[in-house]
Structures are given as structure tokens and as C-alpha cells.
Amino acid sequence: MLKDLVTPENANVFVGKLGDILEKAIGKPLGYAINWGRIWSLWPVHIETACCSVEFGAASSPRYDVERFGIIEAFGSLRQCDLIVVQGTITRKMAPRLRLVYDQMPEPKYVIAMGACAITGGLYFDSYNVLPGIDGVIPVDVYVPGCPPRPETLIQGCILLQEKIKRMKARTFV
């Protein structure tokens, strides 16, 4: 029967339909699975932009140990990373480099703005060489306030990011 229905002329239509049905059936569970994989393997880029990197280092120290949350310590190449933690002030000299790093990362990518300088400019709101926040350079997912934030606050921000990823549509990036 099926053999009679499928002719070379309409084979494409059938394959497309089959794909649609499959996607309806397993798309949603697959999305969950993809997101589940993403939230427990966030790899941050190793880009230190200013002094908040001290507390970022403390967050991966034995006391706070962000690796418990699957945020692997930043050692990989940036082609394998999907999280960028902007650790502090972005100066005018650094901004093009930050954008360059962001553009080289593969999708999906998430951004955490860490510290007052990365959010609004913070202490350096009237400096001649500091950007007023990184929103103009790259899109931000989670803001972590403080100067510098405590490692607990950073971990809380990471948990927020994981919740956000859970709620995101996984297929927008596939």
C-alpha cells in the first residue's frame, strides 16, 4: 500500500511529513534533554577583564567549588565554550576584543555580567576610558551585582542562568 502511495514525485512531501510527525512526537522531550545537557556543562571562557577575576577564581576554589554546578573551570579553548562571564570593567581598549571573543564562540552562548562595572560602569561612571556597562557590546542574560560580587552571589547568578536555560526553547539554536 505504502509503496503505491509513494511515487518519486511526492517522495519529498512524505519525507517532510514524516519529519514533522517525528518532531511533534519527540521534539519536546528532546528539547528538555538538550537543555538538561546544557545546564550541567556550562563552560566559561577564560577572559579576565578586570579585578572581579579574583572572586571568579575564589568561586572555583575548594570552598565554593562551582564545578558542583557543572560550571567547569575556565581552561578550554573558546571554541568549546558557551558561557562568558564578563569579570568587571570594560575599557575602550578592551571592548573590541570582548566583542571579538563573543563572536568567535559557537551558539548557544550565554552572558553573565559580573560586578557593578560590567552592569552600569559602577565606580567609573564618569571615567574617560570606561564603558557604561556592557549592554551596548554584547547581550546579557544575568546580572550579578556587587563590587566585586561574593562567590555566593555569582553561584546564585549561575543558578538563575540554569533556570533561564531550562525555560528557553532549545531548538532556537539547533
Binding site: 577564560h46 577564581g57 575564589a58 576554589s61 575548594p62 575556565a74 575599557t91 578592551m94 565606580l123 576610558n129
Partner: protein, 394 residues
């Protein structure tokens, strides 16, 4: 002062291999073989600065540091703020050594305004400053461990550092940016039973850092990677104006806590650690010895500190300096001597404020040290200079 030093951009090395061209590659000139590497600013081994390194095979023939990625204009902004509001700003260059980076500023403003500080406040400052020095060195040591590929040496110092951070948090209310020192004393008194807790944790801390010898400083692999790399002779260390552990590792006995004692350092018994080798190993060992010395100083200060008394004198609102007075104050920070040049002109704001920071002074030695080294030794030489880019850029 016999031999002329070449400038950092002129450094060349005479290697016989330079004149040799590999056959079969079709190279015509020696220059074609030289490769330029950009290390940083996104690179685990450089922090927020760029090193433009020229290599011939595995050997570095020239290195041009390119700092300024965190230049935030602290000196300009200080001219628009009064002497009190500058305090949160001026500790940001080195947040993990924030008491020490603020110390000379506070001393300088006290001299400009003619303020006498209570005795107890001086001891509290010394304790805070020494705790902070240990916190700085532990972070530095942790990153040095990463640079050398020694993960245990990241985990141990980064964990033990939290013992002292706990103490600072009890004392000042913040993990790293304390804003604790003010002209006229410190902002709040010690919490109850701080002395006991401090003594217990410092003793445990000292026991812990002694264990680092077996795993790091006596480790033959580490010794082979750091010994005889990046040797800075005594004469060059003096001529290049290096400071802190870089200077003391080259055999110059110079520690401002002993040579120019500020606050109550002249009442304490301080030993200066000096090594003669001048290589990366000596430069990495001096801070470790300094930490033990700091533990000694903290114990002495806790013993000698007056048990009660005021810790802060009240100032007038908007204190002003004299007409065109200048002051240059310096202290021994975790990286070396750190000075502030403050010019006042009878306004609540300083007329000009200049930070003379040890990282910037040590940076000039980097091209000389990297000359002729293998590329693989670059991280160990670079971080052994006690260089913190945010401080150098200000």
C-alpha cells in the same frame, strides 16, 4: 654603571642559530623565520594584558608588553573627589590587597591635614595590612600554580586563603574590598573575641603553608621549570628600579617596613627575606617566606595592641590641605614599595594624585628577563614578577 642597557624595544640576542636557515623551506632571509605571537588579552596565561612576543623556533628574541586594557583613569577621577570619597576608588586597582594599596594614601592625607592617629588604630591597621598581604600572596601563588600546570597548587592556596578572608570579613565586613582605612584611623573597631579567633586561624594557616614546601617548593619538577630561568642580576635589579620580591630575590636587602617604618612597624621585630639567585624560583619563594614573616608580625601586633581605646579621630567635613603642599608616602605592599604623590591646593579635592605602583615598575624588567628564554618558560617568568595588570594600568 659601566655597561649600557639596551632599551626594551632594542633587545636582541646573539644566537648562532639565528644565522642558520632550515633547508628545504625556501627561506631567503633570517627574518622570515621569526614569528610574532600575540599572547593575550584573551589567554589563560596573560591576564588582561597583551605580550607581543617574537620567537625564533622555541626561543624568545623580543617581547613588547602592551598594557592598558584596564586603564580606568583613577588619577584623573581622584582630582574630582574629596579626600574621603576617594577611598573606595583607590583600593580598586588591587582589590585583593586593598588595605595595602590604600595605606600610603591614608598616611599621606594624614600628613597633609596634620592628623594624629590613635595608638590602637595603628595596630589594627598593621594587622589588617599583614592579613591582606597574605591574602594577596595566596592568590598570587594559586595563579602561579595554574601557570605551571600544577593544579594542587591552585586548590590549596585558594582554599587556605579563605581562612584569612574570613578574618578580614569579620573585621571589615567585606571579602576583598574593605574600604576600612580612613584618614584618622579605621572605620570600625574589632568585633568581640577577634584576637582569639585571629590567633587560632593564623596558627593553623601557618601550619598549612609549611606543607607547601613538600608539594611545591621542594618538588623537583617545579625546580627544574623555575630554576635558572629569567635571571635578573643584582646590578640590573637596582638599575631597572624593580621592587618588592623581585628586588629581594636578586640579593638587595630592602624592605620599607624595616628601612622606613610607618605606623608601628618600628616597634615590631621584622626579618627581611633575601635570596641571591635572582631566578624565577627565588622570586616565587620570597613571597612564601614573607607570609610566614607576616604571621609572626600579626602575633606580635596582637600581643602589643592596646586592649581598648578609640580607633578613629573625627575630622571636619570636607578637610582641606595647605596651599600647594606635596607629599610622597610609600609603604611595602604585597608586591613591593607603593607610593602616592599627592599635591594639594587648599581645596577639598587633591590637585594631583599619582600612584607609583610596583607592578608598573616591575613590568620594565619583563623584556630583559624573557630575552633568550624558551617560550614555555614565559608564564613562569611573567607571573614571578608579581605583576597585576589592573594595578599597572590604574
Amino acid at each position: 654603571m659601566t655597561t649600557e642597557l639596551p632599551t626594551t624595544s632594542e633587545i636582541q640576542i646573539d644566537k648562532p642559530s639565528l644565522n642558520w636557515l632550515p633547508p628545504g623551506l625556501g627561506l631567503q632571509k633570517v627574518d622570515e623565520r621569526i614569528m610574532t605571537l600575540n599572547v593575550g588579552p584573551q589567554h589563560p596565561g596573560s591576564g588582561h594584558m597583551r605580550l607581543i612576543v617574537q620567537i625564533d623556533g622555541d626561543y624568545i628574541i623580543a617581547c613588547d608588553p602592551d598594557p592598558g586594557y584596564v586603564h580606568r583613569g583613577e588619577e584623573k577621577m581622584a582630582e574630582y573627589r574629596n579626600y574621603i570619597l576617594n577611598i573606595p576608588h583607590l583600593e580598586r586597582p588591587v582589590i585583593h590587597d586593598s588595605c595595602n594599596v590604600l595605606y600610603p594614601y591614608v598616611l599621606g592625607v594624614e600628613e597633609l591635614l596634620g592628623i594624629e592617629v590613635p595608638e590602637r588604630a595603628k595596630y589594627v591597621r598593621v594587622i589588617a595590612s599583614e592579613l591582606n598581604r597574605c591574602i594577596y600572596i595566596m592568590y598570587w601563588l594559586a595563579i602561579y600554580g595554574i601557570f605551571l600546570g600544577h593544579s594542587t597548587m591552585f586548590m590549596w592556596p585558594a582554599g587556605d586563603r579563605e581562612l584569612l578572608i574570613d578574618l578580614m570579613e569579620k573585621m571589615t565586613g567585606a571579602r576583598v574590598t574593605h574600604a576600612h582605612f580612613v584618614p584618622g584611623g579605621v572605620r570600625n573597631d574589632l568585633p568581640p573575641n577577634f584576637e582569639e579567633v585571629c590567633l587560632r586561624q593564623v596558627n593553623y594557616f601557618e601550619k598549612r603553608i609549611k606543607e607547601y614546601a613538600a608539594v611545591f617548593y621542594d618538588n623537583p619538577i617545579l625546580i627544574s621549570r623555575t630554576q635558572d630561568t629569567g635571571v635578573l642580576s643584582r646590578q640590573d635589579a637596582i638599575r631597572l628600579g624593580t621592587t618588592g620580591s623581585v628586588l629581594r630575590a636578586s640579593g638587595v636587602d630592602y624592605d620599607l617596613r624595616k628601612k622606613e617604618p610607618y605606623d608601628v612597624y618600628d616597634e615590631l621585630d621584622i626579618h627581611t627575606n633575601v635570596m641571591k639567585e635572582g631566578d624565577a624560583y627565588a622570586r616565587s619563594k620570597i613571597p612564601w617566606l614573607d607570609m610566614m614573616e607576616s604571621c609572626n608580625i600579626i602575633r606580635q601586633a596582637l600581643q602589643k595592641m592596646p586592649k581598648s581605646g578609640s580607633v578613629r579621630v573625627k575630622l571636619k567635613p570636607n578637610p582641606k590641605g595647605k596651599v600647594f603642599d606635596s607629599v610622597y608616602k610609600r609603604v611595602e605592599s604585597g608586591r613591593g614599595s607603593l607610593g602616592y604623590y599627592i599635591v594639594s591646593d587648599a581645596k577639598p579635592e587633591p590637585y594631583r594624585l599619582k600612584m607609583s605602583v610596583p607592578s608598573f615598575r616591575n613590568l620594565i624588567a619583563l623584556p630583559y628577563l624573557l630575552k633568550g628564554e624558551k617560550l614555555g618558560n614565559m608564564p613562569s617568568v611573567y607571573w614571578s614578577l608579581n605583576y597585576w595588570p589592573v594595578e599597572a594600568d590604574r
